[in-house]
């Protein structure tokens, strides 16, 4: 099945782990914004408490797609990294500053506002940097001139709309995760955020399309799934505004999850034809060990979650 006939299991793992990573980082980025803007909201206290943990999970979950993208697009990923150079490297100190700012926001009333503002700026910078890197990876005709000019910032018409689309989707994802840990009134407030986020991401997607991003060939079917899942998600969130039950929220979560996975495939579509084949990687052993570790690891994490809930 396209696109998994290219890149095989690695592409599937890349998309799956990228989606998981997106859930955590969406909570961190949109949650920081929520906790900053809605400081008095009862949900904000829970969000503040969870943010450092969610960032830890986001970084850990991010290692897997970072690993798999290097198998799929090694030359492009490394080249874009090198072209952006020290500016790209700034994402690491930004994450460290953001991480400790979240702890400060959790611990100190006095510094909360500033700390959340700093954290939000750091995470937005990281998100923008990834959008920029994503575009630069595919801009190979420009690499030599970009390098010769000594630029450290890559500009392309598609970067800003890609960023806006992601930010909007992050707001919806944050609302989805946060809604499971709050009461009916809280769910209604989060539903408004989820719908606003979807509106922004749809507008961002239209902007992205007008800036040159196109969906062609077999990707059209995935775009159809994305559109249907988004419609379901929007309808369910609209219903949450009136009836914030677990069932309706589950519907919104299901629609959102399907939309996230389909969006990850559509996002990847232009790069599918660019996937590199590495002879050694093709025959490299250890897949069984990984599969066993994945099952055992998932079981261990499930046990931990059960302990937490108990």
């Amino acid at each position: 099945m396209w696109p998994f006939d290219h890149g095989g299991g690695v592409l599937a793992l890349y998309i799956g782990t990228l989606a998981l990573h997106a859930v955590f980082v969406a909570y961190v980025l949109a949650g920081s914004a929520f906790a900053l803007v809605r400081r008095q909201d009862p949900i904000a206290a829970t969000v503040r408490d969870r943010l450092p943990f969610m960032l830890g999970c986001g970084i850990t979950a991010g290692v897997a797609p970072l690993l798999f993208v290097q198998l799929l697009h090694q030359r492009r990923f490394y080249t874009a990294n090198l072209l952006l150079g020290p500016r790209w490297f700034a994402v690491v100190p930004a994450l460290i500053v953001g991480f400790y700012a979240l702890y400060l926001a959790k611990a100190s009333d006095k510094w909360r506002r500033i700390a959340l503002g700093v954290a939000l700026a750091c995470f937005a910078f990281v998100a923008w940097s990834w959008s920029e890197l994503h575009e630069l990876m595919q801009a190979d005709p420009e690499w030599a001139a970009f390098y010769a000019a000594g630029h450290r910032l890559f500009t392309a018409a598609t970067i800003a709309p890609r960023f806006v689309t992601a930010i909007g989707a992050m707001a919806t994802l944050f609302a989805t995760v946060a809604a499971w840990a709050t009461d009916d009134a809280g769910r209604k407030r989060l539903a408004a955020i989820a719908l606003a986020g979807r509106t922004v991401s749809i507008l961002g997607a239209v902007w992205l399309w007008r800036a040159g991003f196109s969906v062609d060939g077999p990707a059209v079917a995935w775009f159809g799934i994305l559109a249907a899942a988004t419609a379901l998600d929007v309808a369910a969130w609209a219903l949450v505004l009136r009836r914030p039950t677990d069932l309706v929220l589950a519907l919104a979560t299901g629609g959102g999850t399907a939309a996230l996975l389909a969006a990850a495939v559509v996002r990847e579509a232009p790069r599918v034809a660019l996937i590199e084949v590495h002879a050694q990687a093709e025959v490299s052993g250890g897949a069984v060990v990984f599969a066993v570790a994945l099952v055992v690891g998932a079981a261990a994490i499930a046990w931990i979650v059960r302990q937490i809930r108990a």
Binding site: L67, T79, F89, L294
Partner: protein
Amino acid sequence: MTVPHYPVNDFGPLMKGLVIGGVGIVHVFLAQFAIGGGMLLWYFERLSQRGQERDARAFVDGFFPVLVLVSFVLGALTGVAIWFTTIQVGARTIGLMLDQFHWLWATEWVCFSVEVVSGYAFYKIGHRLDPKARLRLLALYAIAAWLSLFFINGILSWQLTPGSDPGSVWRGFFNASFWPSLLYRTCVAMALAALAACVVINTMELERERRGALIHRAARFATPIAVMPLLAGWYFAILPEDSRSWLLGGSAPMMMFVGVAAGASFLIGGYAVVALIIKRVNISGATATLLLALAFGATAAGEFVREGARKPYTVRGVLYSTSITPDEVAGLRATGVTADDPYPLRDDARYANDQLRRGARVHRALCDACHTLHGANALVELTHSWTDDQMRLNLAKLQHTKSFMPPFAGNADDVEALVQFLRWETKDTPATWPVTTTPPEIAMWLDEAGLR
């Protein structure tokens, strides 16, 4: 055979080895502490539950888990930083390692994920769990953390001793230096955790005797430090002959770093065994902190030795530090190293002529990975006293000039261009510089030097 070309960044006076070393040493220190810390927490929890140490529970629920938490989060961040730094320093090396070991790397990620989730869970809900669940959670953390070391150790040790079949994943993973390296790092992790525990125990508001009892337990935990000299000996015994001779006298700086690592480890181990375990001395917070700082120094020196021992390779026998494989040298001798490089110079207008531009590109391709022009390990400083012909000969026969250097992977014109470029830099980059003809001896010297 096409050599992949990547854009090269100049870090000014900073040698690239120092950049990756700086990030790597911090990461290794934090990650090893987080591994040992998990094991130590489990040990103390077990002592508490068996009624063998009445204050062990206070320790486990005190500040130490916070320290472990901070360490594994910072360890994760510096781990990502290492990845990005390695791409900056040697993209082809990390790509090669990934092609070879990606499933095992992914397995390491699973272990690390379990480590993070269990560590956080203990920090958040450990106090309200029943004893059995507490012990299980800590065991899960400790096992997952150690397994992440197990997997990454196989990948990293492969760089030094990939064996005769570098393409085989499992023979590569369980390579000659795998076990001594793994056991040595496990001992280091336990020693680091014990020292940090001694610092934390000294901050606990307990009577002197009760603090002493906890310190004695922590010291016992560090007992494996006693076998570290044996493990180090084992590690040295399996090193390739040239690497060993290079560490034990062939290179003064490397020998010095071996001495620092061994000396610092000996001091820490000696103090732990004699003062803490045999004499049962109550170590103060200040002394424990000093020993921890010394352990950082030992870690730094040890990592420097590990990196240096691979020269002139990043993966022994497979990839030179110039990111060129031994099989590619012959082709580059024929075409020249800059022929297929698509990246122009960033400062093209700075050079007085095209030969200097070529020299700058040769430097970028063959020298920049380990040398700077005017900073650390500066080529201008290293070569300024050589005559022109001496420089031509030394560069053409590079692997014979210094046994830890790779063969020159370019043609005679590349050698001449590099000589002129270095001379021009030595003379403070004058506005005009004569273009020279490549002396015929260079081609002869390159042939004499051979390809390996």
